[in-house]
């Protein structure tokens, strides 16, 4: 059997204080010290671990929040002295996009590298804005392979970044006019992106991203100076994020990397020319904001030879600077559809970033028309971030998760674990759809169920006139 793509995850307990959902309230004064104590019978040993902490404050605080909320102790206590309450600190985490349960599941995935599995049915709201209004299809009998569960490793999650000419062109004398294609093949449809808000911290985070990209066989976006500080064997996996002014100072770097991202601006085409002059084989991507008129701008850039576009929505996946912003799912569908009409969709690689918070968002963004996604915030959450900086556009000091200065080996393993769990979840979605490779998922809106369409179809006749 040929060697397949495999992400080596390893259990990596967090070095930050976890905030759990439940805490217990115990009215000890009234305890009768009966021999039937529910605390010793806790199936998860929550009370035992908690009392270990009471005896020795140096014992980790983490177990205090391990209660799973089964309420057996509350209901079983002889004198009814116990209550479970929701931890207000848990509810205060995150923002209206990054809900506390999303932070908790991301922490778990970064710790174990495993796909989250639980009992009982779905627990959330029926549907919601953005990606929560999409369901992916499944197939009753069509399978990616005939091997059932054992065929999952044969589902490909590889995508290519770079210009993809649709045909070869030849001169009358028979020589090939089309430039030889220089695609970068990455093994999962996600690149590791810079944090979406400014962080006052050293370059450990960028180095961790680069180390993770190497293990994950994907790419990491970083500032040129941070890349230059990384080991040279990681440079080919780095994508320097540059403004026009940065080009001249980093010519050596540009010769050694395979791809560069240029921030969109009036002179971006000119800068692209300069970069190509330094390294003709370089793949030049333009990172453009998703804002009013983004589809027209993207189409323009595509027509003028920019073959890789990184569409950056805000960190909630919304259009920037628009009064009534649309979500990435809508803007992606618009841009993808426009490129199809323009006749060059297959030549261009679309990277969707901003608001990609969960594994399902990766699948759904691709369904809406992206080739791959850029993951930013989740990599911070993997290290314990609670997204408290999202409102002000900068981080609170001191950081409750003490991300600053975390060791590169620890941080990168947490990121690898998270991406490993996302990769497994992507395979689940593809497996259920009977799709054998992620490239075929791109723009497959026929294999998705959109809330606005299905609602009209199913309940249109039930709406009161």
């Amino acid at each position: 059997m040929p060697e397949r793509y495999h992400i080596k995850t390893a259990a990596t307990p967090g070095r930050f204080r976890r905030v759990g959902k439940f805490g217990s309230v115990d009215w000890r004064e009234d305890c009768s010290r009966c021999t039937n104590c529910v605390k010793v019978r806790c199936l998860y040993d929550t009370y035992k671990k908690e009392s270990a902490h009471n005896r020795d404050p140096l014992t980790g605080l983490q177990p205090l929040y391990e209660c799973k909320g089964c309420l057996s102790c509350v209901q079983g206590c002889t004198k009814g002295l116990l209550s479970i309450v929701i931890n207000p600190e848990f509810l205060a985490m995150g923002d209206d996009y990054w809900r506390p349960d999303m932070l908790a599941t991301t922490w778990n995935q970064s710790e174990t590298g495993r796909i989250p599995v639980s009992g009982a049915g779905y627990r959330g709201r029926f549907s919601g804005p953005g990606f929560d209004g999409i369901w992916t299809d499944m197939s009753e009998i069509v399978r990616p392979t005939r091997d059932g569960i054992h065929g999952r490793e044969y589902i490909s999650t590889t995508v290519d970044i770079g210009p993809k000419p649709l045909r070869l062109e030849f001169a009358p004398d028979g020589t090939m006019k089309t430039a030889p294609s220089s695609l970068i093949e990455i093994q999962m449809p996600a690149i590791l992106d810079v944090p979406p808000w400014s962080m006052r911290m050293g370059r450990e985070l960028a180095l961790a991203r680069l180390a993770s990209a190497k293990a994950l066989k994907t790419l990491a976006v970083a500032k040129p100076a941070d890349i230059e500080a990384a080991p040279a064997d990681q440079w080919p996996l780095a994508v320097p994020l540059m403004e026009t002014a940065d080009v001249a100072g980093h010519a050596e770097l540009l010769k050694k990397v395979r791809m560069v991202e240029l921030v969109d601006g009036p002179d971006v085409l000119e800068t692209a020319g300069k970069v190509r002059a330094i390294n003709p084989a370089l793949i030049v991507a333009v990172r453009m904001d998703v804002k009013a008129g983004a589809a027209a701008r993207a189409s323009d850039l595509g027509r003028q030879g920019i073959k890789v576009l990184h569409l950056a929505a805000d960190l909630h996946g919304m259009e920037k600077g628009v009064e009534q912003p649309r979500h990435l799912k809508d803007t992606l569908r618009e841009i993808h559809g426009r490129f199809v009409k323009d006749g060059f969709r297959d030549e261009i690689t679309l990277i969707a970033g901003g608001g990609i918070a969960l594994a399902e968002h990766m699948a759904k963004a691709i369904l809406c028309g992206a080739d791959l996604v850029a993951v930013g915030t989740p990599l911070l959450v993997a290290l314990g971030c609670r997204v408290c900086g999202s409102h002000e556009g900068t981080c609170d000091e001191p950081c409750p998760a003490e991300i600053k200065g975390t060791e590169v080996a620890y941080s990168s393993q947490r990121m690898i674990n998270l991406m490993g769990a996302w990769h497994s979840q992507m395979i689940e979605v593809l497996g259920a759809m009977g799709i054998r490779e992620v490239r075929r998922l791109r723009g497959e809106v026929g294999r998705a169920i959109f809330m606005e369409d299905i609602e009209r179809e199913a309940f249109g006749d039930l709406i009161r006139k």
Partner: protein, 521 residues
């Protein structure tokens, strides 16, 4: 963790347990509602009632409270500890039975119970969990203080409401209302199977839930002349007395499927997919594969067991027909049900199943329960059942075969109101799973799959945990639940002027879809 002797249990121990549990005579199961209070010492209520030391035990509160919160039995000096799970809370405020205001000593306070706020989620609100517990304990809908009709998920059944007539006509006498359903509409010479409720129990395998859960379901199904389903995991011998009310499942792992089990029953169900993990197959974690489970599944104890997806012998409707023919040949009196999930082409799947010879098409929507499933699958893969019902119903009508097949739906139905809405959208009947489990004391903590299984002893095969509830209690809770549901169904049909649940099928004109954010009635 306390030590348990699961590894050292012998076959003889299990056989002895079998004998003990077979002592329940079949005839003992009746529909009679009997109180089956919470099996834990402290019932949980929405409110906490505190009685301070100022109480002089005058008994005024016990005389006033219509819900039984305060009791002072004859001959007792003191009023008993308040039964605060029965309290209706602020609804009493200002009424003639307002215990807080009318206490001469001002010794009573009523506060919201913080533990209540820890329970539930938008789909299964704490109100729904407690009202299901109440229904299972008493056999009737809760009187006050709890929203027992719908959840708070903001969509689907929670936004669909029943159009009660503004000027109600004469109510139909509840005694005349028929909630029964025939399951064979093919006219193919196979026996008719009639159930007295448009509801039967979902598949829960031996392995995923405890034997008391399985037997309790079977006994309640027998009492109410309906069905329960084995799930994929074999047919424990202890289910034999209830053969006529058991559906045996043939699923992709073929665990516990034998000719003998197929021949014992009146309905055989093919499980293609499960709503909570559509297209992914099943996974019984090693911890739950105890020696008894392994024997039933003919597997090695302690190993994780996978049910692959899909059937490796089915890659077309023709292959599917071959499967159905195999079962029909093996058991000439059986009806065949086909359980599928809800892909975008669910309507075509349903028609295909009909032409392959299915008597029952069972659609399982994506928000249904499970013992373990990837979270990504539960939320994102395949459509919720609310969308699939009208899609399939309308397509079957257009194809002219609607009356030749029974459409059963499941996947996230929580209350009798959900059942009524599903039927009005076009289903014949429904399958429920989670409400049964909640009736047995589930709090939906989602720990069914971890370690030794359910901490409340419902979805666990651990020898100690599974003894946390008795079979008698489990049976009575489920009998009560079905009684409470039937009462509510009959009440609504009576208000709508319908004499039979069959008249409701496809009457979507009796429903309306509320605008987003509209306060439900």
């Amino acid at each position: 963790m306390t030590s348990f002797a699961s590894e050292t249990r012998s076959v003889a121990d299990d056989a002895a347990q079998d004998r003990r549990e077979n002592e329940f005579p079949d005839g003992a199961v009746t529909r009679e509602v009997r109180p089956a209070p919470d099996r834990y010492r402290n019932a949980i209520g929405k409110y906490k009632v505190n009685r301070s030391a100022a109480c002089i035990a005058c008994g005024q509160c016990a005389r006033l409270c219509p819900y039984g919160v305060h009791t002072k039995p004859g001959g007792y000096t003191f009023t008993l500890r308040p039964q605060d799970h029965l309290c209706a809370g602020p609804a009493c405020s200002g009424t003639d039975h307002d215990c807080v205001a009318k206490c001469p000593q001002k010794a009573l306070t009523v506060l919201r119970n913080p533990t209540f706020d820890c329970m539930g989620d938008p789909r299964w609100t704490a109100d729904l969990i407690l009202s299901t517990w109440h229904e299972a304990a008493t056999g009737h809908a809760p009187a006050a203080g709890l929203e027992f009709r719908h959840g708070d998920s903001g969509g689907g059944f929670d936004r669909i409401h029943i159009n009660f007539p503004e000027k109600p006509g004469p109510r139909i006498d509840p005694g005349e209302i028929d909630t029964g359903l025939d399951l064979n509409h093919r006219g193919d010479g196979r026996p008719q199977v009639h159930i007295d409720l448009p509801i039967y129990g979902g598949g829960m395998s031996f392995g995923s839930v405890s034997i008391h859960t399985i037997l309790g379901k079977a006994r309640a199904a027998t009492a109410w002349n309906t069905f329960t389903c084995t799930g994929e995991g074999g047919f424990p011998d202890r289910l034999k007395p209830y053969d006529d009310h058991v559906i045996t499942q043939v699923a992709t792992g073929l665990f516990g499927v034998r000719e003998e089990t197929i021949q014992r029953v009146r309905i055989v169900e093919f499980k293609y997919a499960q709503g909570a993990k559509p297209g992914l197959g099943g996974h019984l974690l090693g911890d739950k594969n105890t020696p008894a489970v392994a024997r039933m599944r003919e597997a090695v104890a302690g190993n994780a067991l996978f049910s692959p997806f899909p059937f490796h012998s089915v890659y077309s409707v023709e292959d599917h027909k071959k499967h159905l023919d195999w079962i029909k040949e093996m058991n000439p009196r059986a009806l065949v049900s086909v359980k599928v999930s809800t892909p975008t082409d669910v309507d075509m799947v349903a028609v295909g199943s009909y032409y392959a010879g299915a008597h029952i098409i069972h659609l399982d929507g994506s928000y249904g329960g499970t013992g373990a499933a990837p979270d990504i699958a539960k939320k994102n893969i395949a459509m919720p059942i609310e969308f699939a019902i009208p899609k399939v119903h309308k397509f079957l009508v257009a194809e002219g075969i609607r009356d030749a097949v029974t459409l059963i739906v499941s996947g996230g139905l929580r209350t009798p109101y959900d059942v009524l809405k599903a039927i009005a959208l076009g289903a014949d009947g429904v399958v429920i799973g989670t409400p049964e489990i909640v009736a047995l004391g589930c709090v939906r903590c989602a720990c069914c799959e971890s370690g030794r299984g359910c901490p409340r002893g419902i979805a666990s095969t651990d020898p100690e945990l599974s003894m946390l509830m008795t079979l008698d209690w489990a049976t009575q809770r489920l009998v009560n639940l079905l009684n409470a549901w039937r009462e509510q169904i009959v009440d609504v049909l009576s208000q709508l002027g319908l004499r039979s649940i069959r008249e409701l099928r496809g009457r979507s004109d009796l429903l309306y879809y509320a605008a987003e954010g509209e306060v439900s009635k």
